[in-house]
Structure formats: C-alpha cells, structure tokens
C-alpha cells in the first residue's frame, strides 16, 4: 500500500469479500487480456499462409499439439465467458436490470446486485466450461 492508501492490483483483484460480481469483474479482465494475446498470435499464425504450403503446414504443425489444443480450449472458454458476461455488463451499463430507485429499507439489500445479474454471471461460467469441453472433444476427438 502506498502513501495514498491505494491497495494496488491486489486490492483491485481481491475477490474474497465482495461476492461473485467481483470475481466476474477480474475474470472479465483476465479473459480480455488473454483473448487479445491470442488474437495477436492468431494474426501472426495466419500470416504464415503468405509463405505458401510449406510455411502454412509448418505453423499448423506447431499449433496442432496437446499444448496447442489445451491453449485453444482455454481460448474458447475465455471467449464464451467474455461474450456472455460482456453482454450482461453492457446491459447493466445501459441501466437494464439494475433495479429502480426506491426508499431503502434495512437491511439495505442493494437492488443492483440482483439475481438476474448473478444468473448472468453463473451462466457465463457454466457456458464457458461447456464450450471448453466441447472444444476439447472436437480437438482431441480427431
């Protein structure tokens, strides 16, 4: 912690005391960064087509490994989570499903942290897991 009291990356990512919404927040960041890294790598990978059949087959051989397939399955999972959770977040940002202002009553359960958004987060996680399994089945099933 610095003199300004900021908790830094540890404080930003801390998922322990703020529920599933905070977990979704940092999963969204991690999956975004992972997808960007994959996207850059994918653009490089596909550029090997310019080297003709030999170049293409070479790069394909490098990626068609067990590690390559596991990475691709992770990318599928990240992509599905980022998409589904991204749609939820965008709806939230538009003020959709965040509740309506009302006089608060004790114990002050926040209307914005409602079951719709929780279902959205859990759906994103479950769909990502299912897509990863499907991806693994396709990749290793050949």
């Amino acid at each position: 912690m610095g003199r300004d009291g900021k908790k830094g990356i540890g404080g930003m990512a801390d998922p322990r005391r703020y529920g599933i919404e905070r977990v979704a927040y940092w999963l969204m960041r991690l999956s975004g960064l992972g997808l960007l890294a994959y996207f850059v790598a994918h653009i490089y990978e596909t550029s090997n087509i310019l080297r003709g059949r030999v170049g293409w087959d070479e790069i394909l051989q490098m990626t068609q490994t067990i590690e390559g397939h596991i990475i691709l399955a992770l990318v599928i999972g990240m992509c599905v989570f980022h998409t589904v959770n991204g749609i939820r977040v965008m709806l939230g940002h538009g003020g959709v499903w965040v509740g309506r202002p009302a006089r608060p009553d004790y114990p002050y359960n926040p209307a914005s942290q409602n079951y719709r958004h929780k279902i959205g987060i859990y759906s994103a996680i479950i769909l990502a897991a299912v897509a990863m399994m499907y991806g693994l089945a396709v990749l290793f099933g050949e």
Binding site: G5, K7, M12, R17, G95, P101, P104, P110
Partner: protein, 249 residues
Amino acid sequence: MAMAQEEISAHISPARTILLRISRYNPEHDGASTFAEFTVPYEKWTTVLDAILEVKKHLDHSVAVRYSCRQATCGSCGMMINGRPRLACFTKISELDSETITVEPMNNFPVIRDLAVKFDRLFDAHRSIKPYLVREDSETDTGKEFLQSPGEVEQYIQFANCIKCGLCNAACPTMATDSTFVGPQALAQAYRYVADSRDKGKDSRLRVIDDSHGIWRCHFAGSCSQVCPKGVDPAMGIQLLRGYMLGFR
C-alpha cells in the same frame, strides 16, 4: 425489586472477550503499519467502535480514530473491519462471528494516523460534480416553492441518503489503482442531481464525469453497493446515469 434485579442479571451474560487488532501507523515516522493487540470484553450489543473506545479509555489512549455520532449518521468511523469496509459504530462484534477483530484504515484513502484517514479526494470529487441544484432562478427569487410529485422524489431520494462515509470508495476495485477516478460516491451523487426534476445542470455535470477517469471507469463490480451502510446503492445510480448518457433512458 429483588425480582427485577434477578431478571436483569439473567439477561446480562458474563462478559466475553475478543482479541482486537488495531493497525498502528504514523506516516510521519513509521515505515510500515504494525498491529497492536488488545483483549477487550464485549457484550451482545458492543460495537467495534465501543471496543476501540474501550481500548482508548483503559489500555492505550494514543490510538487515533475518528468518530462522532455513534449512530451511523455522521459517516466518520468508516474503517476496514476484518478486511471489509464498515462503519465501526454500525458493526456489532457479535455479528462478525470471529474471536479476532482486525481493524485497519479504509483502503484507498491516505492515512493521517492509525485508523484516521484523509477525505480530501472524496470531498474534492464530490464538489466537482456540483452537488447542488443548478438553475438560474431560486425559490427565494420567485417566492414560489419548486414542487415535486412523490414519483419525482422517488427518483433520487435513495441517493440523497449518502453520508459521505467513503466505504464505497474503499471497496471499489478501480479506486485501488486509479488515483484520479471520480469514485462511486461522487458518481452516485451526480446521478442524484441529474435525476432531480428541479435541476437544470445536467450538461455541466455530465461534462465533468465524461472523462477518461470518469464514469466509464466503473465496471459494475458492485462492491460499492454491497458495503454501503445506508442503502444508497451507488452501482445502481452509476448504471442509470450511464444508461442516460448512452441514450437508453
């Protein structure tokens, strides 16, 4: 009389004790914070603030803590209690369900000493969003009250409950790294005035928050709403305000 005496003693349980760990830090001469430990007796109704004041009264008067009303109205005694931002006067030891209570200064605020933190940034951000009605005329000029329907009041009254305790800013993940972010407290107050039918200052207020460290740096993690002791739900206000800026509302 003897009967009444008996009844009272039956309701008072023998005092239990907890270990209270208080963060000690003076930025003027300490390199890092340390924890001072105290064993403090408590009852079912003892609050964390009561326990800290017990320490100040009997064990170590030098502990620095800010407090005033003791009834969750002034917003002075915000601190991290067992890792979560809470008001010390609004948190009973018995509800924490722990033998050890650790109290630290609020995250994302510079420490003055021990548990007391500086509020300059929060108040500056609050001031920047113009937390007052902006319009050319006034009730005194016109001699007429600006009337509102109950429905119009409902649009913002929840957000007017803010006591500026700073717990939302302490919980916010963006505030943990971004020292120029406006913060959930000020953004929720921006919505409070934008939603007020008497206000005419939307444009100037939205200009302040439509910045690279403004409303768009909120990612709807919702931690601010989870810790608010007054039910303000800043996350809702921020999303409604952003929905308005995006043209959805």
